[in-house]
């Protein structure tokens, strides 16, 4: 039997809420799967759809976008922009055939270390079940569009 598939997940998070929540998971010594890589940004409003595509291009099997709860944004309403952008972009992704479970969106506050650990646990499991994102990776390989940055 071959080795079980371990997905690669990239999380784009804001520094004020979700990054702090992930830190809290650490200081609380919670355990979650090591499949997630966190990219820290000032605000979810900074997260461009291009980042998500870039992550898939690099070989990610799933992407998470997470920030402050509605109303709690350190920058007043950056997270609302992020949510609207994600809704539109996700619809576009689905239209082009990217399955829904590949891109996740969530709100995790600086106090929610447990929620962060549980979310990573569940996303990893979901993506593991869905399998590698061959579809996209193959497309990139064929079209050769994995241009350097």
């Amino acid at each position: 039997m071959s080795e079980p598939f371990e997905p690669k997940i990239v999380a784009f998070v804001c520094t004020y809420c979700t990054y702090a929540g992930a830190d809290l998971a650490g200081t609380s010594r919670l355990k979650y799967p090591p499949n997630v890589r966190i990219v820290r940004l000032p605000c979810t409003g900074r997260i461009s759809p291009m980042f998500i595509l870039k992550a898939f291009q690099k070989g990610a099997d799933g992407v998470l976008v997470s920030g402050c709860h509605p109303g709690d944004c350190h920058f007043d309403h950056g997270n609302y922009h992020a949510r609207r952008r994600w809704t539109a972009f996700n619809a576009l992704l689905q239209f082009t055939g990217v399955p829904e479970e590949r891109v996740k969106f969530s709100w995790i506050s600086a106090a929610e270390g447990i929620k962060f650990a549980e979310l990573i646990e569940s996303i990893t499991e979901e993506i593991r079940t869905a399998g590698p994102f061959e579809q996209y990776h193959k497309l990139i390989a064929e079209t050769g569009s994995a241009a350097s940055v």
């Binding site: 690669k8 990239v10 520094t15 004020y16 809420c17 990054y19 702090a20 992930a22 830190d23 998971a25 650490g26 200081t27 010594r29 919670l30 355990k31 979650y32 799967p33 090591p34 890589r37 966190i38 990219v39 820290r40 940004l41 000032p42 605000c43 409003g45 900074r46 997260i47 461009s48 291009m50 980042f51 870039k54 992550a55 291009q57 690099k58 990610a60 109303g71 709690d72 350190h74 920058f75 007043d76 309403h77 950056g78 922009h81 952008r85 506050s109 600086a110 106090a111 929610e112 650990a117 350097s148 940055v149």
Partner: protein, 656 residues
């Protein structure tokens, strides 16, 4: 050519026990652009920082990665070290391999692989970092203190006595907060009024303090040193300049049966009232919700008797605009909703009280003049049962935390009761006695040894009324048997909870709060009075349950932080702000719509003759807070965020 230095910290065993640091160093050494990679036990220590500085100068590094704890912990430390070695601090980045790697994964091999990826991706990012210069902003030397309890008063006085201007905002009609309601204070048994009221008067009379009572925070904009705050001064219907505080109106007011908040419902007040006799300012306010005139348009008895014509029924809320440099939040706590404990019969039996109600009974300024009497029939109770942790340390009620003050005030209550009624019998049901503090353990011992407080270790399961007595059934876990006490009065040590609207205030201020609604400090141990939002500080029980000494200490700490801020001519702000490329900007104004701070202006580009060529976006560096929302909106890829540029993030992702 990039020359990046990678410094892998063991953090004692915290990182090294899981992540193979030597392997991480080896992986980094062979990574393109990395000039040197070192490991050390504690890079945050003096020799650790020195070794980074030496490497920066010795190898002529163009960028530094410290793979260590969270950047929220030591980014500033390592950036300062780099700056001291002559490297622009914004060319230093932190790879978080502790909180987000070694502490959360149990498999060493996987953790090492992850640490390599995290560090590698940041090496790729830092290669594309630019030198940035801090932005200077002016400081308004005026502090806003929210909350006029002991914490707020202490902070306001400390700042004002050092020469800073203070605006003290209190939402009730008088200063004082909870401390003004207390009878005596532990562990010295000082009369609370005697030590509190002089402070209230001092704050009100201080030439540097502007007092806004009966006022609430409406809106907060801006940033450290430059906040614009709108305060809603609620209509008192009493002209403060004309009123002399004679109290004639209060005597004549016909609406007399309103449950008084200050006495926790143990006494009634009128519709025009001062919250308590020692109120500051000692001038009444009309409660329009209960006033007969406001309800049915007739009465105005107060207006008729007022000798100075101070009553004005047409008064409206006023909005006060303030320019503020720093904000101290001292909004305190409230007593937990007792409805959570149906089995203790609060509300059903009039002689079941909260700790705060007992304070009012024991207080010389209280409804009974300090006599401990049953609310139901006015009799002196022969036996009082105190139930500690009535709410606190109970996850099933949603309050797993300890309220910190209840062990002490219950011991105090038993003492006060014994002092006033020598034959009285007190029984205290407790889980543990937590009396950590100067003179605290001695105090509880005194309650037991000198004042006959009978401690029973165990919980109360049921409470009912029988033959005019309150029957309390519980367990004595030390004797291992059930106990039943016939009591005349029961006092519940209810939990301290945040103000019911603390989350709304947190949102208005843009500061974080925990799952209960207590405000979050920037770092629990090292930055306990600061919030994650620069220029906003926390004092007292709004951060976590606290007693008076802790609240006062924290308030003074806030004052010192505020004064340190005010001692500077100008502030330096992180240069993480948006920058626009005017050559490619198409003037679509997507960024203007996106910006939460109105920091993007329209700028005219003209030729030499002054003719308009086109209009482009221009970022106001003073207003921009660096969220980067505009960058994502930009259609022509013209705006970018310094420190988090498109190039940097793409490189970081591709490095993973």
């Amino acid at each position: 050519m990039a020359k990046i230095g990678v410094f892998v910290c063991h953090c004692g065993e915290n990182i090294a026990a899981k992540v193979d640091c030597t392997k991480l160093v080896a992986a980094m050494e062979s990574h393109p652009g990395v000039a040197i990679a070192h490991e050390y036990k504690y890079f945050c220590s003096e020799p650790g920082q020195e070794s980074i500085k030496k490497a920066v100068t010795g190898h002529g590094l163009t960028g530094v990665i410290v793979a260590a704890c969270s950047p929220r912990m030591h980014e500033a430390t390592f950036r300062t070290a780099c700056a001291e070695a002559g490297l622009n601090p914004y060319l230093c980045e932190i790879a978080n391999i502790r909180e987000q790697c070694s502490w959360v994964h149990s498999d060493g091999e996987q953790a090492t692989r992850k640490a390599i990826e995290i560090t590698r991706s940041l090496v790729e990012k830092v290669k594309r970092n630019n030198e940035l210069q801090p932005i200077e902003v002016p400081v308004t030397r005026r502090a806003l203190v929210i909350g006029g309890g002991i914490a707020g008063i202490q902070a306001a006085l400390d700042i004002a006595n050092a020469g800073g201007d203070v605006v003290l905002v209190e939402r009730e009609a008088s200063l004082g907060g909870h401390m003004a309601q207390l009878s005596e204070t532990f562990p010295t048994l000082d009369c609370s009024q005697c030590i509190m009221t002089p402070r209230m008067v001092e704050a009100a009379r201080h030439p540097k303090i502007r007092l806004l009572t009966y006022s609430e925070i409406e809106k907060v904009e801006g940033f450290i040193g430059n906040f614009n705050v709108t305060v809603r001064q609620k209509a008192r219907y009493v002209d403060m300049n004309l009123c002399t505080g004679c109290g004639e109106c209060i005597i004549k007011c016909p609406a007399k049966k309103i449950s008084g908040e200050f006495d926790c419902g143990l006494a009634n007040r009128t519709a025009i009232y001062t919250p308590f006799a020692q109120a500051v300012p000692n001038k009444p306010v009309i409660d329009s919700g209960h006033c007969i005139y406001f309800k049915n348009g007739k009465c105005k008895a107060c207006q008729r008797v007022c000798p100075t014509g101070a009553i004005n029924f047409d008064m409206e809320d006023e909005l006060v605009e303030l320019e503020i440099g720093a904000i101290v939040v001292a909004t305190g706590f409230q007593v937990q909703n007792t409805a959570l404990y149906g089995e203790y019969g609060y509300g059903r039996y009039p002689d079941v009280l909260t700790g705060l109600q007992f304070e009012r009974l024991a207080s010389a300024s209280g409804p009974t003049g300090g006599k401990i009497q049953r609310p139901s029939d006015g009799k002196e109770p022969e036996t009082i049962v105190f139930i500690q942790c009535a709410g606190s340390r109970d996850p099933s009620k949603g309050i797993p935390y300890c309220s910190k003050i209840c062990c002490m005030y219950t011991a105090k209550h038993a003492m006060l009761y014994h002092h006033k009624n020598h034959d009285g019998n007190s029984r205290i049901f407790y889980m543990d006695i937590r009396a950590a503090g100067k003179g605290y353990d001695e105090f509880t011992r005194r309650a037991i040894e000198e004042d006959g407080a009978g401690y029973v270790r165990g919980r109360v399961s049921k409470l009912w009324q029988e033959n005019g007595k309150l029957m309390v059934r519980g367990a004595d876990t030390l004797l291992g048997r059930p106990v039943e006490v016939a009591a005349d009065m029961v006092v519940l040590a209810t939990a301290m909870v945040p103000q019911s609207d603390s989350k709304e205030l947190g949102k208005t201020l843009g500061i974080g709060y925990d799952e209960y609604g207590f405000f979050n400090e920037a770092h629990l141990k090292l930055r306990p009075v600061e919030t994650a939002t620069a220029g906003i500080f926390l004092a007292g029980a709004c951060q976590s349950p606290k007693d008076i000494p802790d609240s006062v200490a924290q308030a003074s700490a806030c004052a010192s932080k505020v004064l340190a801020l005010f001692s500077r001519e100008k502030l330096e702000r992180e240069p993480v702000i948006a920058q626009n490329n005017e050559a490619t900007c198409s003037g679509c104004w997507g960024c203007v719509l996106a910006c939460p701070y109105n920091a993007i202006e329209k700028k005219d580009l003209t030729d030499r003759a002054g003719n308009l060529i086109r209009r482009v976006a221009s970022v106001n560096a003073g207003l921009c807070q660096g969220c980067g929302t505009c960058v994502t909106f930009c259609r022509s890829n013209s705006i970018d965020l310094a420190g988090f540029t498109e190039k940097q993030i793409f490189a970081e992702v591709m490095g993973l």
